[in-house]
Amino acid sequence: MEGGVVHLPMLSRVAVCGGTHGNELSGVYLVRERLKTKKMVEEEDELVSVLTVLTNPRAVQQCRRYTETDLNRCFTQATLNHPILDRTPYEIIRSQELNLLLGPKGRPEAVDLICDLHNTTSNMGLCLIAYSDCDWICLHIFRYLQMQMPDIPVRYIHFDLPPKEAYSLESVGKHGFAIEIGPQPHGVVRSNTYTTMKSGVQHMLDWVRLFNSGTTFDGGSVEVYSMVKNVDYPRDRETHSITAAIHPQLQDHDFCLLRPNDPLFQTFSGDTLRYQGKEPLYPFFINECAYYEKGIALSLARRRCVMIPTIQMQRGLEHQEDEKEFMSEEEE
């Protein structure tokens, strides 16, 4: 990374979203609290306009992850363009409504930043999850949260997918990330987890206001975890039922390096199964409740250093950014 400041447009509109999974309660109660004390869904001041949205109200009402299909897999361009028919699942209808409200995805009208709030049963502390490892806005917010929240492990997870294939809500905004906090059982609200979420959102909005006021944020090096692959549980060939649990030595050890031959699973008859991979990798989403049905016992990542430039807001750049969007569409 060469010296010099990267100038980026103002982040005029930010969305804070909760309840994308209806039983991940920190975000549900945080959104409800924000909607309660602010009379409007959208609050605006001279520095930023913040939209607060409860994204899956039906699932929230039932305290379930989803009613028909996982909302947070419904934001690929293909699903957003899919015609609505009689039998279209609720969550696909809802994703298209959210795309109109916060997007449209890929268009100049989309909100500048989406922050989507999630919980996990895994012991992951606070994670920012994003599709890019070169979105300087997301990476600077990450760095800022790390500095402002020294008592909590704060990490950045990168899923390498191009925008059209990106399937989750935050991909609708020009910039976006999920804030994932665990461990917390689904359907339960723990006070400390709620407070951490509230703090994280507040620091994020503080950063946006500082950025929009023209503050320069110095560059440097950040550590990111880039997703490599998922590992499923061992399963019974006929019933497909899992035959082992995450090994006690791996349980709760998210982001502790997993080396070849380290214990991975303990079968229900008491045997240890070991990690067969050749490359040591960093595990995360270890024993996430919602991932049993997706065939994921844990995910594995490489840890890398990414250099981020010094950035500063500059007005008048919004239109240049819009032109870039239009141009890349024309090229396609």
């Binding site: 049963t121 689904h186 359907g187 407070t195 649990a245």
Partner: protein, 309 residues
């Protein structure tokens, strides 16, 4: 004190999945069924998935909480088209493991549960049956990897509503904390230890061991406390306070914090010194229970040995 003698236990039932998302019991029973465990020394074992439809859906229940369906009244209620799934299932289980109160009932019904609360290992049974108390006394010496406590349900047989009341004797084994829908190896291992010790106890009893009676310290329910709620929407407005969270069974004194509102205010406890438990159990939000409060009491149980014919 006198020694009570009982006939040997010839039939024991181990039940899992009474709540379909409490996973230790589900996988314990599945493993026992896979290994075709049907005998242990001098007695037979029946391993049962109590609520298969809820297990399939990985939900606590389909229509209604199965573990409230075992009162005499509900077990004899006529079945109609509109009867909830769990009521039908309770009557099926009564036919298989009971009938409740009869000569044919299982000698011991052992029902396996998990909780999101930090209860450690907790044995639960009714005050009219002290087999559970003997099991507790036995396990206290054998299991050192986790705290063990006993929760006594103080009500007469006629009001007993949970599955273990189907047997001549019954006990629930509750292990936490574990999120519903998740199986943790450490919690599974603790559950397995408790089940193994239960079976060892029965075998030892059948073989002629006398189990000394004496005083046993137990917890008994005094009352339950709900979350503060919005009077219009009924939504909760606070979470369990961080100083109470995970502190099941520690003494709660007046003035101690119990809730922190989502706006950041602390709400303190007012009332007698009592012991909170089932603190922040997921399934109790809808039952309007943030935590139970218990008194610690001492009960005296007689010595026990098997009746040799």
């Amino acid at each position: 004190m006198e020694c009570v003698s009982l006939p040997p236990f010839s039939r024991v039932a181990i039940c899992g999945g009474t709540h379909g998302n409490e996973m230790s019991g589900v996988y314990m029973v599945r493993e026992m069924q896979k290994q075709k465990v049907d005998k242990f020394g001098s007695f037979s074992i029946t391993a049962v998935i109590s609520n298969p439809r809820a297990v399939e859906a990985c939900k606590r229940y389909i229509d209604t909480d199965l573990n409230r369906c075992f009162t005499r009244a509900l077990l004899s209620a006529p079945i109609t088209d509109g009867t909830p799934y769990e009521l039908r299932r309770a009557q099926e289980l009564n036919a298989q493991l009971g009938p409740k109160g009869s000569h044919e009932a299982m000698d011991l019904v052992c029902d396996l549960h998990n909780t999101t609360a930090n209860t450690g290992l907790c044995l639960i049974s009714y005050s009219f049956d002290w087999i559970g108390l003997h099991l507790y006394k036995y396990m206290q010496k054998k299991i050192t990897s986790a705290p063990i406590r006993f929760f006594l349900l103080d009500m007469p047989f006629s009001e007993a509503y949970s599955q273990e009341s189907l047997g001549k004797h019954g006990v629930s084994i509750e292990v936490g904390p574990q999120p519903h829908g998740v199986v943790r190896a450490d919690i599974f291992n603790l559950m397995k230890e408790a089940v193994d010790q239960t079976l060892e106890w029965v075998q030892s009893f059948n073989s002629g061991t006398t189990f000394e009676g004496g005083d046993v310290e137990v917890y008994t329910l005094e009352k339950s406390i709900d979350y503060p709620r919005n009077p219009e929407t009924h939504e909760i407005t606070a979470a369990i306070h961080p100083q109470l969270q995970d502190n099941d069974f520690s003494l709660l004194r007046p003035g101690d914090p119990i809730f922190m509102s989502f706006a950041g205010e602390t709400i303190n406890y007012e009332g007698k010194e009592l012991h909170p438990f089932f603190v922040n159990e997921c399934a109790y939000y809808e039952k309007k229970i943030a935590f139970h409060l218990a008194r610690k009491i001492t009960v005296n149980i007689p010595s026990l040995s098997v009746k040799m014919d």
